[in-house]
């Protein structure tokens, strides 16, 4: 490797903005950093939600047949039932309380653990503009860039993941 450091590198593209999809990038990034990897995450499209100062992430059973519903709810609310108003809020609340009970870190916690471990966050400038976000909406300590900036790091990486 011809880079400035001999560390292994991991590059991640985070494109999803739901509570369930928020976990994989932050769990892998924080763990890789603990193992000595240099890590960058490129947040684009709905992935930008993960960088909001107060992320309001939700999980939805809608269009998600793999989601286990508690109390046999899938029998009472098949397919169309998952579109009932309030279902998303209820599933999000249930998921959050279950996560807390099982000792799973919150997204905010994992996000700051990554920053402490020098994981670099890049917000896709193009989607920031597209969604009319301003840097005040997003957390501090992130960089803004484009595909070329990400590829400069990713091209030299040992692991590259699209999520």
């Amino acid at each position: 490797m011809a880079g400035k450091s001999s560390n292994k590198k991991m590059a991640i593209i985070a494109t999803k903005g739901t509570l369930d999809w928020a976990y994989p990038p932050f769990i892998l990034a924080s763990t890789a950093a603990a193992l000595g990897y240099e890590v960058q995450i490129f947040f684009t499209f709905y992935g930008l939600q993960l960088l909001k100062k107060k992320p309001n992430l939700k999980v939805s059973p809608l269009g998600n047949p793999g989601m286990p519903m508690p109390m046999g709810m899938d029998k009472w609310f098949p397919v169309l039932g998952t579109a009932i108003p309030g279902m998303e809020a209820m599933m999000t609340m249930m998921m959050k309380s279950k996560m807390k009970a099982k000792g799973i870190a919150s997204i905010e916690e994992l996000r700051s653990l990554c920053l402490e471990a020098d994981v670099k966050y890049i917000a896709c400038q193009m989607t920031v503009d597209l969604f009319d976000f301003s840097p005040q909406d997003l957390i501090d300590g992130i960089e803004y860039g484009g595909a070329a900036m990400f590829l400069a790091f990713a091209g030299d990486s040992d692991i590259c993941l699209y999520m």
Binding site: I27, T31, A34, L35, G36, K102, G103, A105
Partner: protein
């Protein structure tokens, strides 16, 4: 007797590893860190952590649903 102890009971992946890494950062070479965890996944995770960071895993035991690991800082 380990030089330092970390209570990771009730924490789930990846928190036990992250807390252990943080504790090791503040320790000197040759010192040992004892970790007590309840996450069954931590058994394989600490093996992998030791292998990839070069900090040897001196002990890995299970008793009464608790997992005890001893890492030595390289």
């Amino acid at each position: 007797m380990a030089d330092q102890e970390l209570d990771a009971r009730g924490l789930n992946c990846p928190l036990p590893i992250l807390r252990a890494k943080k504790a090791l950062n503040g320790m000197g070479s040759g010192q040992t860190l004892k970790i007590i965890a309840t996450d069954p996944g931590s058994v394989k995770d600490f093996q992998a952590f030791a292998k990839q960071t070069g900090n040897p895993l001196l002990e890995s035991n299970e008793a009464n649903g608790e997992y005890v690991f001893v890492l030595k800082k390289a």
